[in-house]
């Protein structure tokens, strides 16, 4: 997984990787060359008393040292660059992917886990890449060089060297195999730490209101302890790796002296070979330790790669249709806004009972279609089917005569303007939030939309007007203000279809009435579908759909429904009961 991901990402950086390899090679060679030159200083210079030669060789050594540092610096530059580019690309890919996922798919990972994957997990992979680039040439060169040199000296004694390699591999294998699940668990725990903290921030007022800080602290402590225990376990294992390897290598040098001593005694081996052998073993040890640094980072990076890949491999259930745009109307959106539901049924994945069943209706341009029904009767779900946040389990949904599934997503969504039930604003400015719907709208456009949404007054009263700051989620605005900003956002867009999901609930009645009045001219030619609880809001709707437990139990105008639909009568009666009058 990790290897595959690295290979894929590195493919785009072949020249840089090649440069790193070459530079590292130059660097390592230069480093090995210095002692050789030093040897000639002694052998050729001192012994022959040649001062000139000594100075010349000294000059050469300085030149090589310069080459070495230049190569090392350049290699470092490319390594940093490539490693961080890998990180950047992974983050970008993750973000692009996440944006194509549906709420359900985002939910399976969880918001905080996705965030962790794009930051912390990517960091681990970056770190590994840097290490690999640094050790790429040096470690294998030293290790293999050491082994070759050892073989060259004495084949029989090299048996010891050859014997320790599998032992070392085994040790690493055993430790790495235990590390992987630990790291996997560790990353999940980081997700959970984030999740608990995120909830504590979002729910701060509820926690405080119910005086449950202690409870929350305990909840956090459980995860924190688990994470600490997990991290400690992996740290201890990593801490154990180095001593284990040292033992094996060091004991093998003891063995070399023992067996070497006997071989020398038997006359099978030269005395000088013994000392050389110990030096080579040391070299191998250093190479192994370098490789170990990589290996210590590798399991965690591998786990992170796995987690990142899992996101990248998710194929969004809702995607653009594969077909060509042949049958599409010209322009960016559907020409007509007629919305038609044909026997639509929808069940949330995994749930047995459908949330919507056999829904059929037609909403025509220039009319308002209202949806009314109890809490949980499926109103929001119905609206979410239109922009394809969800796909119907069966039945067809048509917009302007086109099946929503046959339209490219951006095309479909450009035809809609939605006010969601939960008024969500992004941190930034009021203007920035409004321009989400229409990036090129002028300030005058914004003010016009705000006026229609009955939000102009309070926005004007803000210290910086349109450019006043909005905090995350819009928490520095009152509930009703947030809702109206969301309505203004939707009105900025001149769309064939407007969807309002219970968007007037936080408004007082006077504002509600004014808003509906202002809405009428703006949406005159469009299809308006509005979810509402108040009968007063929907009195003049051309078509009212009465939903009850996922079924469309009646449709018609207010007067018709008051005559024919018991559910609607009940709703009306409930509003009378609540009001005493209405």
């Amino acid at each position: 997984m990790l290897r595959g991901m690295m290979m894929r990402l590195l493919a785009a950086h072949k020249p840089a990787v090649l440069a790193i390899v070459v530079l590292q090679f130059v660097q390592t060679t230069a480093n090995l060359f210095l002692p050789t030159l030093n040897a000639s200083v002694i052998d050729d210079g001192i012994v022959k008393g040649n001062t000139d030669l000594i100075l010349r060789l000294g000059g050469w050594m300085a030149a090589i040292a310069a080459v070495q540092v230049a190569a090392a610096l350049a290699a470092g530059y490319f390594s940093a660059n490539v490693a961080m580019k890998l990180g950047r690309q992974l983050r970008q890919e993750l973000f692009a992917k996440v944006q194509s996922l549906s709420s359900q798919e985002v939910g399976t990972f969880g918001v905080t886990s996705l965030v962790t994957r794009a930051t912390n997990d990517v960091q681990q992979i970056q770190a590994l890449a840097v290490l690999v680039f640094t050790m790429l040439v040096a470690a294998p060169a030293m290790g293999i060089g050491g082994i070759v040199l050892a073989l060259n000296q004495d084949v029989v004694l090299s048996g010891i060297v050859v014997a320790i390699v599998p032992v070392l591999v085994l040790i690493m294998y055993v430790i790495v195999r235990r590390l992987v699940p630990l790291y996997r668990q560790g990353q999940v725990l980081i997700d959970r730490i984030s999740r608990v903290l995120r909830e504590q921030i979002i729910g701060a007022n509820v926690i405080r209101a119910f005086v449950r800080q202690a409870h929350e602290a305990r909840r956090f402590a459980v995860v924190n302890r688990e994470l600490t225990r997990n991290n400690l376990q992996s740290a201890l294992m990593v801490a154990g790796m180095l001593p284990l390897i040292m033992i094996v290598v060091n004991l093998s040098s003891v063995a070399v002296v023992w067996f070497g001593g006997h071989r020398i005694q038997a006359g099978d081996m030269q005395l000088g070979s013994l000392t050389a052998f110990i030096a080579y073993i040391l070299q191998i040890l250093i190479a192994i330790m370098m490789a170990m640094y990589v290996l210590m980072t590798a399991p965690r990076a591998a786990v992170c790669a796995e987690r990142i890949q899992a996101v990248l491999d998710t194929s969004p259930a809702i995607a653009d249709p594969p077909i060509s745009r042949a049958g599409l109307p010209p322009g960016r959106r559907t020409p007509g806004g007629t919305v038609e539901f044909r026997d639509v049924t929808f069940a949330y994945p995994g749930a047995e009972a459908p949330v919507l069943e056999g829904i059929s209706f037609t909403a025509s341009p220039g009319t308002t279609t209202a949806i009314i029904g109890s809490t949980g009767s499926g109103k929001s779900t119905l609206l979410n089917l239109l922009p394809r946040f969800l796909d119907a389990t069966s039945g067809d949904i048509l917009i302007g005569g086109h099946n929503v599934r046959s339209l490219p997503l951006h095309f479909l969504r450009d035809s809609l303007s939605l006010v969601p039930q939960r008024a969500y604003l992004f941190s930034g400015t009021v203007a920035g939030n409004l321009r989400i719907a229409a990036p090129h709208a002028s300030d005058a456009d914004l003010l016009r939309a705000l006026r229609a949404a009955q939000a102009e007054d309070f926005v004007r009263e803000l210290p910086h007007g349109l450019h006043s700051a909005v905090s995350q989620g819009g928490t520095n605005f009152s509930g009703g203000q947030r809702q109206r900003l969301c309505i203004a956002r939707a009105l900025l867009r001149d769309a064939p279809v407007y969807l309002f999901d219970d968007s007037l609930s936080a408004l007082d009645y006077a504002t509600d009435a004014r808003l509906r009045q202002a809405l009428a001219p703006l949406t005159r030619r469009s299809t308006v579908i509005i979810v509402a609880e108040r009968i007063a809001t929907i009195l003049d709707a051309g078509l009212i759909l009465v939903l009850d437990q996922g079924r469309l139990v009646a449709q018609g105008t207010h007067t018709e429904l008051m005559r024919t639909s018991t559910v609607y009568q009940e709703i009306a009666a409930s509003q009378l009961a609540l009001g005493g009058r209405l």
Partner: protein
């Protein structure tokens, strides 16, 4: 949406700040002093064994040499020596492991404490703080930064001790062999220091930026993923992508620079030591020719000077690691140092150390009757800005229901925020039963009040846990009773897992109205002496509302209640109606008084009934 309101970019506060942060980080290790001493001792033992074992191995080689030249091969002596060496190596490894294990334990405990400190801090930050700082950035501090500190500390403590000991060891060996040569070798030290300092000066800023940009990216991600449906609905993924890409590019540039600059230390130091090495080789060779030195002397010296320069290089490399660690620590400490809610004035024994524990037990206490709530000339503005509640005065008698009505943005929720002490008054006072609310601890105050907030919030956990939140430890029957009264039971029953259904992702799997019902059930179960309902039923349909109305009335009975609702029907029966406009109470009285006053209230009332009344009435009579 590009400008985050308050990126608390902890721009490196220069050298002095870094030192202070470093010292503060070290203070975190203080509880582990003994462990650290043990770690140092273990490292000493490790170094001693590791240095002397090769010496004995050399002796063993000599035994072999003796055998070759002297003719007698003393196998027993060789065996004995090698056995000692083997034991020494075993010991070295054991000490190395002890050192590693002790350090790892200390570092993990420090990380635990840092995370716990962050969490604890969240509970003490004023609500205003959350308006300013983005969540993702706070989360990044608790995860990415603490993770960075922990990894860096671990590596530092492991290597720094070792490198310093190696440095001291080789220095003393050199001094012992030849003091003059040692002094020459020491020439590299100032050079190395200069190189390290120069590099470090450049890299500190990059590290600070790297970690603050990571926080920023985290914040973008958290926010965009949370609101991804809105972006999708408007086909504006591109916009988010643009902002994200900008941060991502910045993170790339700054981490590449940090990595590159810090990675340059080691090669540069190697270069310094190589130059020294060459100088020694050349000068030494010339000395030998001049007869001032022997070849062996020069070679020994070269070997030790290399041995000496190795730890110098390592320590140099660690300087940048320290910087990265400090950059993260600065961010964590900045959060920990953020202004807190002013301490509770009262010195009730319930407070202080055992605050949490006692607060929780108090929660489950029985309901005291009444609660006389008085607002006296209360004025408040968010963040010290222009007041959104102005000079508000009224009295709620025990058991009364007070309705607050007014246009959206009039300041209704703000009044609740003040009563709950989520924010502190600018002037005026609020008393409950004669006691100023600031004279009680916040927890004590809040334990008297049950509330349903305007934004229905459910947390990850089962539905049962969510209801029980208002009264931990409530019995099954009590939870069920609350759920039945508030019609939660109605929809929970159709869920396959019933009350054990786990809600995740901000309660995504429920409809908005269902979430609201759960929060009502929560307040219902909590049953405190004062009740606050802020738009409690705004997303609940009217048929359901009629059904829970009785429950709500029963709930209000005997409690001083504050009800905020646009639906004037809810308001009509209130004992006292406060009509708010632009932060002021413009009218107060009961329904009939206000109607006959023909002021704000009667206009609001008319607006509500202007539209549908006639037709509905007509239809009603036609039935």
């Amino acid at each position: 949406m590009t400008a985050p309101t308050a990126t608390t970019t902890a721009v490196s506060s220069g050298g002095a700040g870094a030192w202070a942060t470093g010292r503060r980080l070290l203070r975190l290790l203080r509880p582990f002093t003994w462990r650290m001493i043990a770690a140092v001792a273990a490292t000493c033992a490790f170094v001693a064994l590791n240095v002397s074992a090769p010496k004995l191995l050399g002796d063993a080689t000599d035994v072999v040499v003796e055998g070759v030249f002297g003719g007698t091969f003393n196998e027993q002596k060789l065996g004995a020596l090698l056995l000692v060496v083997a034991v020494m190596y075993l010991g070295a490894s054991a000490f190395s492991w002890v050192q590693g294990a002790v350090t790892a334990t200390a570092v993990q405990r420090v990380s635990y404490r840092l995370r716990a400190a962050v969490e604890d801090k969240l509970a003490r930050l004023p609500s205003a703080h959350f308006d300013e700082q983005r969540r993702g950035d706070v989360l990044s501090r608790a995860t990415n930064d603490v993770d960075n500190i922990s990894q860096a500390l671990n590596q530092l403590l492991n290597q720094l001790i070792l490198s310093v000991l190696m440095l001291l060891g080789s220095l003393s060996m050199m001094l012992w062999l030849s003091p003059i040569l040692a002094v020459i070798a020491l020439v590299t030290v100032p050079f190395s220091t200069v190189v390290t300092v120069l590099v470090a000066r450049k890299s500190q800023a990059h590290f600070s930026e790297q970690w603050s940009t990571t926080g920023e990216l985290n914040a973008h991600l958290e926010e965009y993923i949370t609101g991804h449906e809105v972006l999708k609905a408007f086909g504006r993924q591109g916009l988010a992508t643009e902002t994200f890409t900008n941060s991502n590019d910045r993170l790339f540039r700054t981490s590449a620079r940090a990595q590159y600059v810090s990675g340059a230390v080691q090669p540069l130091l190697v270069f310094v030591s190589n130059l020294n090495y060459i100088a020694v080789a050349v000068v030494g060779a010339l000395q030998v020719i001049a007869g001032a030195m022997t070849i062996g002397g020069v070679q020994a010296f070269i070997q030790f000077s290399r041995l000496f320069s190795q730890p110098i290089g390592q320590i140099g490399g660690m300087v940048t690691l320290i910087q990265s660690c400090i950059a993260s620590a600065e961010r964590v400490f900045a959060l920990l140092d953020a202004a807190e809610i002013p301490a509770d004035a009262s010195a009730l024994p319930a407070d202080g150390a055992g605050q949490h524990a006692t607060a929780d037990t108090r929660t489950s206490g029985a309901v005291a009757a009444g609660g006389r709530v008085v607002f006296d000339a209360v004025t408040f503005g968010y963040g010290g800005g222009s007041p959104v509640v102005r000079d508000v005065s009224f009295t709620a008698e025990p058991g009364q229901t007070v309705a607050i009505v007014g246009h959206t943005g009039a300041g209704k929720t703000t009044m609740v925020n003040l009563l709950m002490r989520f924010y502190e008054l600018d002037s005026g006072r609020i008393t409950i039963d004669g006691t100023d609310i600031t004279e009680r601890s916040r927890d004590e105050l809040r334990s008297m009040i049950g509330m349903v907030l305007q934004d229905a919030w459910v947390f990850t956990g089962s539905i049962r846990e969510n209801i029980e939140y208002g009264r931990p430890g409530a019995s099954e029957a009590e939870v069920l009773a609350a759920a039945e009264a508030t019609l939660v039971d109605h929809f929970v029953r159709s869920l396959p897992d019933g009350y054990a259904t786990v809600l995740g992702n901000d309660g995504d799997t429920l409809s908005q109205g269902q979430r609201q019902l759960i929060t009502i059930a929560r307040a219902h179960l909590a049953g405190r002496s004062i009740l606050v309902l802020d738009e409690a039923t705004s997303s609940v349909d009217t048929r359901t509302e009629v059904q829970i109305r009785q429950a709500m009335q029963r709930l209000r009975h005997g409690r001083t209640s504050f009800v905020i609702a646009h639906r004037l029907s809810t308001v009509r029966d209130a004992d006292l109606i406060l009509v708010m406009d632009h932060g002021r109470i413009v009218e107060q009285g009961n329904h009939h008084q206000l109607l006959s006053a023909k002021g704000h209230y009667s206009r609001l009332y008319d607006a509500q009934f202007a539209g549908g009344e006639e037709s509905l009435r007509a239809a009603e009579s036609g039935l």
